[in-house]
C-alpha cells in the first residue's frame, strides 16, 4: 500500500514533536526539523497528487482498519490539489519565516515552530480525512493552534483578538459538531462516503435538513462569511507576520474546501439544490459578502486590515460560485481556492517583507517603497493585479469561470457584484500603489496637500537633483537607497509570483485535469 497519504499528515506531526524536544538541545535545531518535516510533507503531497491524477481516488486506511470502523484518509482530485497547496505554502512560508520570527518573537521561536507544524497538521488532516468526526477534531486542532499563534502577535491587541476568535471559533465548531450528531443519529455512520450513500434514501427527513444547516453554519462561521466575519480582521492583522502569512491564505480556503466537500460528497448537490431551495438566498448572501467586504476594505488605513477585508470579499466569491448550481460556478469556486490562496499568500509575503523593514504597514509608512523595495513591490503589484482580476494572472481566470457560471445560472446580481468588487479592488490597490510610488514621506513638508503649489517645486527640484540617478529614487529616508528584505523572504515571494502567473496561463489545464474530472 502506498503510504504517502499518511506520511503527508504525519510528517509535520512528528516534526512538531521532535522540534519541541530539540529546542531543549539547541533552539536553532527546531527550525531545521520543522523545515525538513514540511519538505517531506510537501514532497508526499506532490506525489499523492501525481498518483491521484494518474490512478484516481486514493483511499488510505489508518493502521489497516476498514471503514466505517476505521479511520480513512480519502484523497480525490480536489483534496489532492488542496493538500499540495497547503503543504507548499506552509513550506515556503517556513522558509520566509526564519527572519521575521527572529525579529518578532526571538525568545519564542521553538514554540512558534511547534505550533506552526501542528497548525499545518490540522489543515492537512482536514483536507485529507474521509471521516466527519475526525474533520471536527482536526478543525479544532487547527483552531487551537491558531489561537495560540495569534496570541503571540501584537502585544497590546493580540491576546484580545485571539480571545474573541476563540469565542466565535468555538461556536462555529460546536455548530458543526452538533450537525454531525444529527447526521450520526440519522445514518449511524461517520464515514463521508458511507453517510452519503445512506442519505440518498432519507433526503426528506427534517433531521437531515437540521444537520445540513448546522454543519454549513458552523463552517461559514469558521470561514468568516459575512456577516459572520467580525473576528477575522483583528485576528489576522494582529497575528505575528510569520503566522499571518499562512493563516490568511489557508485557513479560510480550507474551510471553503470543507464546505464544498460537504456539499458535493456528503449531502450531494442534488439534495442541496433541488430539495432545499436555499441556493438563491445563499447567492444573495455571497453578493452581500462581496460588496460589504470590498467597501469595508475601502475605509481601512492599514494594509493588513485592508487585506483582511479583501479576504472577506473573496470568501463571498467562493461561496457564491459554489452555490450557483452549475459546473461553471463550482469550477470557478474551486479554482479560486487555489488562486486566492496564492494571491493572498503573495500579498501577505510582501506585507511581511515591508513589516520586516519598516515595522508598520499603516498607509503613512508606505511612501517611497517602490524605490526602496522594488522586488517586494513587484510581487505585491502582481498579486494585487491578480486580486483585481487582470489577465494573465490567475485571479482573472477564476473570475472568468465565476462570471460565466453566474450568466449561466441567470444570477446577474452575482456577476455584477464580481465586477463591482473588481473595480473596488482596483481602487484599493492603486491607492496603495500610488502611495508607495510617490516618494513623499510622512514627515516631509510636501506630504499632506496634493495640489498645493509648494510640493511641485519641491519634488521638481528633487527630480533635477537626482538627474541621471536611475533608481527613480524617493525622498523617504534613506532616500533612494534600496533597503530590501532578506533573500529568503524575497525568494518565497518570487516563487509565489511565478505560481500566480503559471496558475493563470495553465488555468485551462488545471480545470481540465483536476476540477472537471472531480465534478463528474
Amino acid at each position: 500500500m502506498n503510504n504517502m497519504p499518511a506520511i503527508l499528515v504525519l510528517a509535520p506531526l512528528l516534526g512538531a514533536l521532535f522540534a519541541g524536544l530539540a529546542a531543549w538541545i539547541q533552539k536553532q535545531l527546531s527550525y531545521y526539523i520543522a523545515l525538513t518535516a514540511m519538505a517531506v510533507s510537501c514532497f508526499a503531497a506532490v506525489s499523492v497528487l501525481k498518483d491521484v491524477v494518474e490512478a484516481g481516488t486514493m483511499q488510505y486506511r489508518m493502521a489497516g482498519w476498514a471503514p466505517p470502523m476505521g479511520i480513512e484518509l480519502k484523497i480525490d482530485l480536489l483534496n489532492a490539489m488542496v493538500l499540495v497547496l497547503i503543504s507548499a505554502i506552509a513550506f515556503l512560508n517556513l522558509v520566509a519565516s526564519v527572519k521575521s520570527v527572529e525579529q518578532e518573537i526571538p525568545d519564542r521561536a521553538p514554540s512558534f515552530y511547534v505550533m506552526y507544524l501542528l497548525f499545518v497538521v490540522g489543515l492537512l488532516g482536514v483536507s485529507a480525512t474521509g471521516d466527519l468526526f475526525n474533520l471536527y477534531v482536526l478543525i479544532e486542532i487547527t483552531s487551537l493552534t491558531s489561537y495560540t499563534l495569534i496570541a503571540l502577535g501584537d502585544k497590546d491587541r493580540g491576546h484580545l483578538a485571539a480571545l474573541n476568535y476563540i469565542f466565535i471559533g468555538v461556536i462555529g465548531a460546536s455548530f458543526y459538531l452538533l450537525g454531525v450528531g444529527y447526521l450520526y443519529i440519522t445514518t449511524g455512520s461517520l464515514n463521508m462516503a458511507d453517510v452519503a450513500v445512506i442519505l440518498k434514501g432519507i433526503q426528506g427527513s427534517s433531521a437531515v435538513l437540521t444537520a445540513f444547516i448546522l454543519c454549513i453554519l458552523g463552517v461559514w462561521i469558521k470561514m468568516a462569511l459575512f456577516p459572520l466575519h467580525v473576528w477575522l480582521p483583528n485576528a489576522y492583522s494582529f497575528a505575528p507576520v510569520g503566522f499571518a502569512r499562512v493563516v490568511a491564505p489557508l485557513m479560510t480556503k480550507v474551510m471553503v474546501y470543507v464546505m464544498i466537500r460537504l456539499m458535493v460528497t456528503v449531502f450531494g448537490l442534488d439534495y442541496i439544490l433541488d430539495t432545499l431551495h436555499l441556493a438563491d438566498a445563499v447567492v444573495w448572501l455571497a453578493v452581500t459578502a462581496i460588496l460589504a467586504g470590498a467597501f469595508m476594505a475601502l475605509s481601512q488605513t492599514d494594509l493588513k486590515k485592508m487585506l483582511a477585508y479583501i479576504i472577506v470579499c473573496e470568501i463571498g466569491y467562493m461561496v457564491g460560485g459554489a452555490w450557483l448550481g452549475n459546473d461553471l460556478g463550482m469550477t470557478g469556486a474551486i479554482l479560486h481556492i487555489l488562486n486566492d490562496a496564492l494571491m493572498t499568500f503573495a500579498l501577505f509575503l510582501a506585507v511581511g517583507n515591508i513589516i520586516y523593514m519598516r515595522k508598520q504597514v499603516a498607509f503613512s509608512n508606505l511612501p517611497g517603497l517602490f524605490s526602496a523595495m522594488p522586488w517586494t513591490m513587484a510581487g505585491f503589484v502582481l498579486a494585487g493585479l491578480s486580486i483585481i482580476g487582470v489577465p494573465p494572472t490567475c485571479g482573472f481566470f477564476s473570475k472568468w469561470y465565476l462570471v460565466l457560471g453566474a450568466f449561466e445560472a441567470g444570477a446577474y446580481h452575482f456577476a455584477a457584484a464580481l465586477i463591482i468588487s473588481s473595480l473596488v479592488c482596483a481602487v484599493l490597490f492603486f491607492k496603495v500603489f500610488e502611495i508607495c510610488f510617490f516618494a513623499s514621506a510622512p514627515g516631509d513638508p510636501d506630504h499632506h496637500v496634493a495640489g498645493s503649489p509648494q510640493p511641485i517645486h519641491y519634488i521638481h527640484a528633487a527630480g533635477h537633483d537626482r538627474a541621471g540617478g536611475d533608481s527613480g529614487a524617493g525622498t523617504h529616508p534613506p532616500a533612494g537607497v534600496m533597503a530590501e528584505a532578506p533573500v529568503s523572504m524575497l525568494a518565497a515571494l518570487g516563487l509565489v509570483s511565478i505560481a500566480i502567473i503559471a496558475a493563470g496561463v495553465y488555468a485551462g489545464t488545471i480545470v481540465n485535469t483536476i476540477i472537471l474530472p472531480f465534478l463528474q
Binding site: 487551537l144 497590546d156 491576546h159 484580545l160 480571545l163 476563540i166 459538531l177
Partner: protein
C-alpha cells in the same frame, strides 16, 4: 397541547441540551466579564457533549462490556444482541470532544490571565477603552 407536551416529554434530552446551549450562548454574548463569557462557552460545549451522550443511550440496555470474555471459546455464550448494550461510539467521540474543549478552555484562560496582567481588568468595556488609549498614544 398534549401533542406538544408529549413531544417535549419524549425528547426531553433534546430540550435540555437546547436550553443549556442557549444559556451558554447568552452568557457568551451578553456578559461583560471575560471570565463569565468563558464559563458560558464551557456550558455551551458541555451541552453538546450531553446531547451526544444521550443519543447513545437505550432503554434497558447496559454498558457495552461483554461479560464472560469474548470470542467463541466459551460454549455457554449467548448470542450477543446490539440492543442490549448502549452505543459506545458517541461516548468515545465525546472523550475526544471533552479533550478539545478542555484544551480550548485552557488556552482561553491563559489568554485571560495575560490580558489581566496587561490591563488589570477583565471587563470588556474597560478593556476596549484601555486598548484604544494605548494605541492612540
Amino acid at each position: 397541547m398534549s401533542d406538544i407536551l408529549s413531544l417535549i416529554v419524549a425528547k426531553y434530552n433534546f430540550w435540555l441540551y437546547i436550553i443549556l446551549m442557549m444559556i451558554g450562548l447568552y452568557a457568551m454574548i451578553a456578559k461583560n466579564n471575560l471570565m463569565k463569557k468563558l464559563v458560558g462557552m464551557n456550558i455551551f460545549q458541555t451541552a453538546i457533549i450531553l446531547f451526544y451522550v444521550s443519543i447513545g443511550y437505550k432503554h434497558g440496555a447496559t454498558l457495552p462490556i461483554i461479560q464472560g470474555g469474548h470470542g467463541g471459546h466459551s460454549a455457554h455464550d449467548a448470542v450477543i444482541r446490539a440492543a442490549d448494550y448502549i452505543n459506545p461510539l458517541p461516548h468515545v467521540l465525546m472523550l475526544t470532544a471533552i479533550v478539545v474543549s478542555v484544551a480550548t478552555f485552557g488556552v482561553a484562560m491563559a489568554l485571560c490571565v495575560r490580558i489581566y496582567q496587561r490591563y488589570q481588568t477583565l471587563e470588556e468595556d474597560e478593556l476596549r477603552m484601555r486598548v484604544s488609549e494605548k494605541n492612540n498614544l
